[in-house]
Amino acid sequence: MLGDMLNKYLDTNLTMDVLRQSCDESIHHNQKIWSGLLDQGTHTILIPEEYGGAGLSMLHSEVVSEMLGNHIAPVSYLTNAVLAPLAIQHAATDAQKDKLLPEIVSGKVIYGVGLTDVVANRENSSLEVKAGKVTGTSMFVIGGQHADKLILASPGTFILVDSMAEGVAIEALSTVDKTRDFAVVKLNDTPCEVLGAQGSSTEAIEIVLNAARISIAADSLGAAEAMFKKALAYSRERFQFDRPIGSFQSIKHILAEMVTDLEPCRSLVWYAAYAFDEVEDEVTLLACHSKAHVSEVAKNISRATTELHGGMGFTDLLGLHFWFKRIEVNRQLLGGPELQRHIAAAAQGWAPDAITAA
């Protein structure tokens, strides 16, 4: 029902024209669409009732992520409704929770979240926190360009920084996917607040990363389903050789393969979302496999859908590429399939612990 309501809202409000305009003008967080989501309360799903939230489960949030991926919505649901609330809930002190969680519920604060450096550090970037000040760099901060507040991870620690604070420099990173934004955050002796105690958030970071993996997998699942439906519709509409191309086995079988790959993905992601709240022991394994497997399936579906549309699939005109690019960025975000599978192996004692151990 949550999904249906959201679907209806996005169908009406996030038309191809609105999406294209958002992308062309690099409006990565469409405030108009976001306020609709705020009205429906989707941003409070994971926030406990005692802080004014809906106190629902990851499975509910998964439905939203999937729907937003389906419509490739240019809004920062991932950071505001998933990553920031969970980081605060699992790392912050009670006093911090009392202040920060109701603030998110109010819808007045937009968060950017930096996790990349604790997953796969490619720039030797690090954050040095001393006496309430932070110096250093956080790469690929999700939603960093338009954020009011930033939650940044370094090994064992989450810090909270006001994006307008002294010594903050935010550089935009522009990817192929224009529906989301990313930034490099550079901090120089910037006032910051540690969530909880310094060095005590290793577990909280793992929880937030698992939530990210499941939510990104859900986003790709939704986007892949949208592409599949477009492929299916086009194969009925497009006539060549005096017949719909979908009447050729070469096309039929592609669609059959797509749906055969896609449907079990849905089951995997749904179970991972359920496990997030209910089956603690299996979360890392399932979250990593969800992200890795859905990334692979979504990549194949987005390639095949582009291909199936022939030349038109390759044009800007049709706009299929917006979905293709969202899926591609999801694939890379917070570690691609190889890294996810490595972490899954480590979670079972099948590989050395370190993510990147050779």
């Binding site: 796969a120 990817t175 050789f241 005096d242 291909e307 044009t315 800007d316 050779a358």
Partner: protein, 409 residues
Amino acid sequence: MELNYGPEYDEFRAEVRHFCETEGKKTQSGAMRMGEHRPSAEAVDWQGKLIEAGYTARTIPKEYGGFGGEPDIVKSLIIQEEFVATSTRAGIQNQGISMLVPTLLEVGTEEQKLKYIKPTINGEMIWAQGYSEPGSGSDLASLKTKAVVDGNNFVINGQKIWTSSAQFADMCFILVRTEPEAPKHHGISYLLMPMDSEGLDVKPLVTMTGEAFFNEMFLTDVTIPITNIVGQRGEGWRVANTTLKYERGMLGNPGMSATGIRGVADLMRDETISGVRAIDMPIYRDRLLKLQGRSLANKYHGLRLLSNEINKEGFGVEALIVKLSATYLAHEIYSLAVDVMGEFGTLYDGSIYQRRKDWMRQYLGSFMGIIGGGTSQIQKNVISERGLGLPREPLVRLDQNGWDFLKKI
């Protein structure tokens, strides 16, 4: 297939290596992306040197502006290997050189060969390809753009799409319907049309890379001499298939994947993930090695085809597979490069963080190979029907509103 390296080839290899290390170093190695713009004056100059040395247009007869060399598979291999090994700028690759020239050599008149081949291989005459139409993509033979004879001229009307290079081309090889009464494959002619003709309107077509390599082309009473036909009237489909054979060869060019593998290997030596080089991580290295295996298979397959051609053994199924195989391979090579870079591989802004080669653009652009020149699905039909002798699917007309109602045609 014979691939003997004798001592006489050591000398040839040394000569090519010397050329690459002396002349080659004087020119920048940056390859031009196909369809992007006209070759620069420098590229044309370099092309002249390559033809003179016999490293490109090697077997094209001297009277048509080529080097006039005897076909020699080992020498072709050595040239390709040395150019890749020394990262030397290769010769110009465009549709005129790779598609039209071999077609003219096979079916053109002597006059056409003398007029067009030399400036084309020199890189001075650029050709657009006027094949696809909005309603005629995979079913190319259903094309509707028509040409009627008016005195000594053809008068052309219609619309083309995916006309690559049309925005700067001098000429266009175009398929038109000249015999509307004939069955669809027998009513087409292959014409050579100057791009400065009156009545031509070219509009850029933006693709998923954000660039406009392709165009839509509208033709209104475009008039060209009746002598600008390749082959006979109504034989255009056969001529076009000659060209498509070469397009498959061009899009399946094995040298491209070798360059890609080398580039990804270099990237993986540079790129570190939390302090570990990607090349030292089995999770990525195994993917690279799998792709290298496919690339090497394609490379030697290319030589086998060359050997068949030289020995007049004709084209069989082994020639039909190259485009299908090489275009997916290229897509996967570029995809690995993006994966190795992770989030940084998705950057598309030219910022300092997008510090390595523009792999994302190549990854997106690789759809041109997969879709263009007959999609992978069409390739599979060609392979199974023409290559393996399997029967075609029955010809039926399916009603858009009642699919169960089949009419035999």
